[in-house]
């Protein structure tokens, strides 16, 4: 079947989608967006977290057909999403995107794929780097999407709030302390910016 939906502000069309396929598979294998990670495939680990109509969900548990006509934001679109949020709806002049331009869209090659230097980052991404919250990195995209969503609704989270918001995202490297630091840092910077 064919599925039409919006990913990171761009209309997308996925063809020959199997009816039992997950949104995660469509993103990674059909749309070339491998940022959302595939780990447990049962909603336990949160590494595939994306926003579906603004709500954080495990994309491995969303059937592809269920996203028809809906909006998805992945970690690849997080910087742009955060930028637009920061300057209000469309106030920053989001250019009109058609399906043609979206088909021709290519991710900008980062000047350094390891450090991400030279690429635009969302505040939460920058905070994860600055706090040293990334080790192997596999859980990072899901944590970024979940943490960003929490800070959107709760700009002054307590540690308990952070732990609860990230309770669906497993990390086996960091012991979570640096991740907590990163979210606190992002919250503090967000507070200064206002």
């Amino acid at each position: 079947m064919r599925v039409n939906f919006t990913v990171n502000g761009r209309p997308q069309e996925a063809d020959d989608v199997w009816e039992g396929e997950s949104l995660l598979y469509v993103l990674r294998e059909r749309l070339g967006l491998p940022g959302s990670k595939n780990a447990c495939e049962q909603g336990e680990c949160g590494s595939c977290t994306v926003r579906l109509d603004g709500v954080p969900v495990c994309s491995c548990l969303v059937a592809a057909g269920q996203v028809e006509g809906r909006e998805v934001v992945t970690v690849e679109g997080l910087a742009e999403y955060a930028r637009q949020r920061a300057c209000g709806t469309d106030a920053c002049g989001m250019s009109h995107v058609t399906r043609d331009t979206s088909k021709n869209w290519q991710p900008k090659p980062p000047s350094d794929s390891h450090t991400g230097e030279g690429t635009e980052l969302s505040p939460i991404q920058q905070a994860f780097i600055d706090a040293g919250a990334v080790q192997c990195g596999f859980c990072t995209p899901g944590l970024l999407v979940a943490a960003d969503e929490m800070l959107e609704h709760n700009p002054n989270p307590t540690d308990a709030d952070i732990r609860e918001a990230l309770s669906g995202n497993l990390c086996r490297c960091t012991g979570y302390e640096k991740i907590m630091d990163a979210v606190r840092l992002a919250a503090a910077r967000q507070g200064e910016a206002v």
Partner: protein, 296 residues
């Protein structure tokens, strides 16, 4: 596999009548796991995401008619006053991501003995609104669970909503697991005080082939509270009464040994949770409900 995408409830019922083997999918938090792991290859998937009615609830005089797909997150945020037991249970479901998608309709459809909503529904009192092209019926929650992952739905029926009695007294919910998030219950316990009828209701999860009430324990406690005039005098429940209640709740279990826990541990834990939830709710009844004079 075919993916059926009804745009309305009527279309969904027609599709289910035409394809009784179709597997309904709403939050997908159970169904997609089975598909991802190749444990299930349904001929038809019946997507209910487009049916907005399923995401709404109405608060009536006696009960809340909770749409089958209302996510747990919404229940926690909006129905804590009306359905405190279910709101507490909802908060124990998995993680924010799962609570954003899953709802009580799916829990009932899957009918796992470990489903988090069941003990709260049993304790509060509820009816499942099942509908097919043949009509609508309300299935009392006590008759709904018929076996391990089996329920009273006919093949052509879908769950439209669940009617949960509004709380008329304190309710509690307790769940045993290895951590707070992302845990399938080792066992769980729901308790609701119903001062209007002067009864206590219970619900036990994950400690029998189906979610069950501890009816003998309820009868014992109802009689003991009545005899001692507890509902009026608001005295602390006698420890021996609480212990007897806990023992009878443990005796209502029919658990198994599995990877999550042993049968004897489950029995023990249910007894502990029964005593604790009784203490918590009774303290709340004495402290607020009784003092406000809302109960004669």
């Amino acid at each position: 596999m075919d993916f059926l995408r009804p745009a309305s409830w009527e279309e969904a019922l027609a599709a289910k009548a035409e394809h009784p083997t179709a597997v309904p999918i709403a939050g997908g938090t159970d169904v997609m796991v089975e598909i991802n792991f190749d444990h299930r290859r349904p001929e038809y998937l019946l997507d209910l995401n487009r049916i907005g009615d399923l995401y709404e609830w109405e608060t009536g005089e006696e009960s809340v008619r909770l749409g089958a797909s209302v996510p747990y997150t919404r229940i926690m945020e909006n129905l804590r006053a009306e359905l405190p037991g279910l709101a507490l249970a909802s908060h124990t479901v998995a993680s924010p991501q799962i609570r954003n998608r899953g709802g009580v309709g799916g829990n009932l459809g899957t009918a796992s003995p470990a489903g988090d909503a069941h003990p709260a529904l049993l304790a509060a009192g509820a009816e499942v609104e099942a509908e097919s092209v043949r009509g609508t019926r309300l299935i009392p929650i006590d008759d709904f669970y018929t076996g391990v992952k089996r329920n009273a739905l006919a093949p052509d029926e879908l769950i439209r909503a669940v009617h949960v009695q509004k709380a008329d007294g304190p309710q509690q919910y307790s769940k045993v697991g290895t951590r707070n998030a992302m845990v399938i219950a080792v066992c769980a316990f729901g308790l609701a005080l119903h001062p209007e009828t002067r009864t206590v209701r219970t619900g036990i999860g994950s400690a029998a082939p189906t979610p069950v009430r501890a009816k003998v324990a309820e009868d014992f406690l109802n009689a003991a509270l009545d005899e001692g005039g507890f509902w009026d005098n608001g005295k602390i429940i006698t420890p021996s009464v609480a212990k007897q209640f806990a023992d009878l709740c443990a005796a209502a279990c029919n658990p198994i040994d599995d990877v999550r826990g042993t049968a004897s541990y489950r029995r023990h834990a249910v007894g502990v949770m029964a005593r604790r939830t009784l203490t918590w709710t009774w303290e709340s009844y004495r402290g607020t409900t009784l003092q406000k004079g809302s109960v004669a």
